[in-house]
């Protein structure tokens, strides 16, 4: 299943897995109580398969990991932030379509 390509990370892993990652990273900040987050789950899985080897797709549960979303001022989910070389390239808030997410990812490759 495509979801094997999606890495679930915690606050303590954020620096090593995202900031220090040589590949661009798309981080999906989500929570189990958020319907739109669950709704875009399958799209995130598809993107992870599609961009396998080019972009790392990462999910972070904001309930279990409050520090990282706090650091990036996240007050709405789903929020997807694209990182490259440890810097924020761009971000999207809300359940958007697959093509918008593809456009976002393409900004880093």
């Amino acid at each position: 299943m495509a979801s094997d390509n999606v890495m679930h990370i915690s606050d303590s892993e954020f620096d090593s897995k995202v900031i220090g990652n040589p590949l661009p990273c798309l981080v999906d900040f989500w929570a189990p109580w958020c319907g739109p987050c669950k709704a875009i789950g399958p799209v995130i899985d598809e993107l992870a398969a599609e961009f396998d080897g080019k972009v790392v797709i990462v999910k972070m549960n904001v309930d279990d990991n409050p520090a990282t979303p706090g650091k990036f001022g996240i007050r709405a989910i789903p929020t997807l932030i694209l990182f490259k070389g440890g810097e924020v390239v761009d971000q999207i808030t809300g359940a958007v379509g697959k093509s918008q997410l593809q456009d976002l990812i393409n900004k880093a490759i």
Partner: protein, 319 residues
């Protein structure tokens, strides 16, 4: 005449579209449902649905739409996740052009693109979107634990969401431009009895003020033209909806003055073979069950238009 690829294309996968899809797939039509995001529509952001018949104990919006999607899937509804750039609906064969350039065609179309939250269109609203400005209490409420926030609006969504937000926030101020609520009585009772909810009547938000970290306060104007500020970290704007009609050929369709599509009671638009259902329709009641019911009516009207022709597929006796 050019042959259409599908007998029916359904545009949008909320309750109206999924119900139309369920009926069409079960009716063995050659049908395609096109959805730009995820199926479920606005119900996905509804925390709790208490009045959908059959769900005796209530159901979360997500679970209800998950079930509607699964129900349509059970009959093998073909779905495509794509963004539409334009539609041409006036000829016998109607065409749907996707953003990637692909063109699809059908003999009939049901438009179920729904609606989205109306914006206040005030300074700071766009700037602080996602950083204190929200249109979805169920998505963003938990970010405001023990904080003071505001809800703008006086209808069912505003009051239900204000109640939901009291689970997290220390205080919720409902700001309403009128002197009374439009929300249903049971919600009003709950809101008036909730000690975390305050009301500011006959008041409008003129500006959202904040800093790099997000929203900090609101500039308010009261009925007597006095201005004041209210310190909040979040503002939930729940003042109704506007139709998702950007991709529709509005020169080909009749709309009301606010852009919703006008239909007859069989869900037929002014164009033959083109139907509309759900929140996109010009009407008064916008409930999940209305949308689902209209989806069913629209599909049956489309079948009627197609002349109840023999199904394309051979009969399948194995089921």
């Amino acid at each position: 005449m050019q042959q259409a690829q599908y007998q029916l294309i359904i545009v949008g996968g909320g309750p109206a579209g999924l119900t139309a899809g369920l009926y069409a797939a079960r009716g063995r039509l050659k049908v395609l449902l096109i959805e730009k995001g995820a199926t479920g529509g606005q119900v996905l952001v509804t925390d709790w649905v208490d009045n959908y018949p059959g769900f005796v104990d209530g159901v979360t919006g997500f679970d209800l739409m998950d079930k509607m999607t699964a129900h349509a899937d059970r009959f093998g509804l073909e779905k495509k996740y794509a963004t539409i750039s334009s539609l041409d609906l006036k000829d016998n064969v109607k065409t749907v052009t996707l953003e990637n350039g692909e063109v699809l065609s059908a003999e009939t179309i049901i438009l179920c693109t729904g609606a989205k939250p109306r914006k206040l269109d005030i300074p700071g609203e766009f700037e602080f979107s996602g950083r204190g400005v929200s249109y979805c209490a169920t998505c963003d409420g938990p970010f405001y634990r023990n904080q003071e926030i505001a809800v703008v609006g006086g209808g069912n969504t505003a009051i239900q969401d204000a109640l939901h937000l009291t689970k997290f926030a220390s205080k919720v101020t409902v700001i309403h431009r009128r002197g009374e609520l439009r929300a249903t009585k049971i919600l009003q009772e709950k809101a008036f009895c909730n000690e975390k909810i305050d009301f500011l009547w006959n008041t409008q938000v003129k500006k959202i003020i904040g800093s790099k970290s997000g929203v900090e306060e609101l500039l308010l104007r009261h009925y007597n033209d006095d201005e004041s500020t209210l310190k909040v970290t979040g503002i939930f704007i729940l003042i109704g909806i506007v139709p998702n009609n950007e991709i529709l050929p509005l020169d080909q369709l009749e709309t009301d003055e606010t852009g919703f599509i006008v239909t007859d009671q069989e869900m037929a638009t002014t164009l033959p073979g083109v139907y509309a259902a759900g929140d996109l329709r010009s009407k008064r009641s916008r409930q999940i069950i209305n949308a689902a019911g209209e989806g069913a009516v629209a599909e049956l009207s489309a079948e009627h238009y197609l002349g109840n022709q023999a199904p394309d597929q051979p009969l399948n006796c194995s089921e």
